[in-house]
Amino acid sequence: MKIQIKAFAAIREVLGASELELELVEGARVQDALEALSAEHPALREIPCGFGIAHEYVGPDHPLKDEDELALLPPVGGG
C-alpha cells in the first residue's frame, strides 16, 4: 500500500521535504512507516515524533491503510 507522509518543522528539515509518498506492506502500522523513513534518514531517530492521521493524534501501533495521510509531528512549540 501507499501512504502520504506530511512532515513538519524539524522532521521536515531532516527529511528534506514536507510531503512524500511511502510504499509499505499490507498490515503496516505507524511505527513501520517511521522505521522505513529512519532507515533512510537516521537523523530522524534523534527527534521525538508524534503522529497524526485524519487530523487526530494516533499512537505508533495505529494501523495504516492505503492512501492514509500520516503526519509526522515533532514536539510542538506554539503559544
Partner: protein
C-alpha cells in the same frame, strides 16, 4: 461561540475584544504571548511559526469542548500567528469571557496550557550563527548541519 484562527498578520487584540463584547459577560480575561528577542543572552534575529492548519483547527475544536465542560465558558477566541513574528508582537492571543471571573481566568489559563501540549504549531528561532526549533518544554533542537543542539528551560 468559540473560535480559532491562524493568521499571517499582526494580531489585533482590541478588535478581538470588540468581537467578544456582548452583554451579560461580566469578566473578560485576555492572554497574550509576546515574542522575546533574546534567549540566554543570544539575540534572536528572526522568529517564525509554522502550523499544520487543519489538524490545529480540529484539535482546538476538541479543546473548546473541554473548556466548556470544565469551566462552563463558551465565549473563547484564540488567534495564533504564523510566519515571521517581530519581537514585541503577540504570537498568540486568547480571550475568554464569562459571567464570573474565576471561570474566565480558568478557561484562559487552561487553554494556553493545553495549546502548548497539543496544538500542532512549531516555533523556530534564528540567531546570527544558527537556528533552532523551540519546544514548549524549552528544549531547543537544531537540525541544520552547523548547529549544535541547545537545551534550556523557557
Amino acid at each position: 461561540m468559540a473560535e480559532f484562527r491562524l493568521t499571517d498578520e499582526a494580531i489585533d487584540v482590541p478588535a478581538l475584544r470588540r468581537e467578544i463584547e456582548l452583554s451579560g459577560q461580566g469578566a473578560i480575561v485576555t492572554f497574550e504571548g509576546v515574542v522575546r528577542d533574546t534567549f540566554e543572552g543570544r539575540r534572536v534575529v528572526r522568529l517564525e511559526y509554522e502550523a499544520y492548519p487543519p489538524m490545529a483547527t480540529k484539535q482546538m475544536d476538541r479543546l473548546f469542548c473541554e473548556v466548556e465542560e470544565r469551566f462552563g465558558v463558551e465565549r473563547l477566541l484564540v488567534v495564533h500567528r504564523l510566519g515571521l513574528v517581530p519581537e514585541g508582537e503577540a504570537a498568540i492571543a486568547i480571550l475568554a469571557a464569562s459571567p464570573h471571573r474565576r471561570e474566565a481566568f480558568g478557561a484562559a489559563a487552561y487553554t494556553i496550557d493545553r495549546i502548548k501540549e497539543i496544538l500542532p504549531v512549531w516555533k523556530k528561532e534564528h540567531y546570527e550563527d544558527g537556528e533552532v526549533w523551540v519546544e514548549s518544554s524549552g528544549v531547543r533542537r537544531a537540525t541544520g548541519p552547523g548547529d549544535a543542539p541547545l537545551d534550556g528551560a523557557d
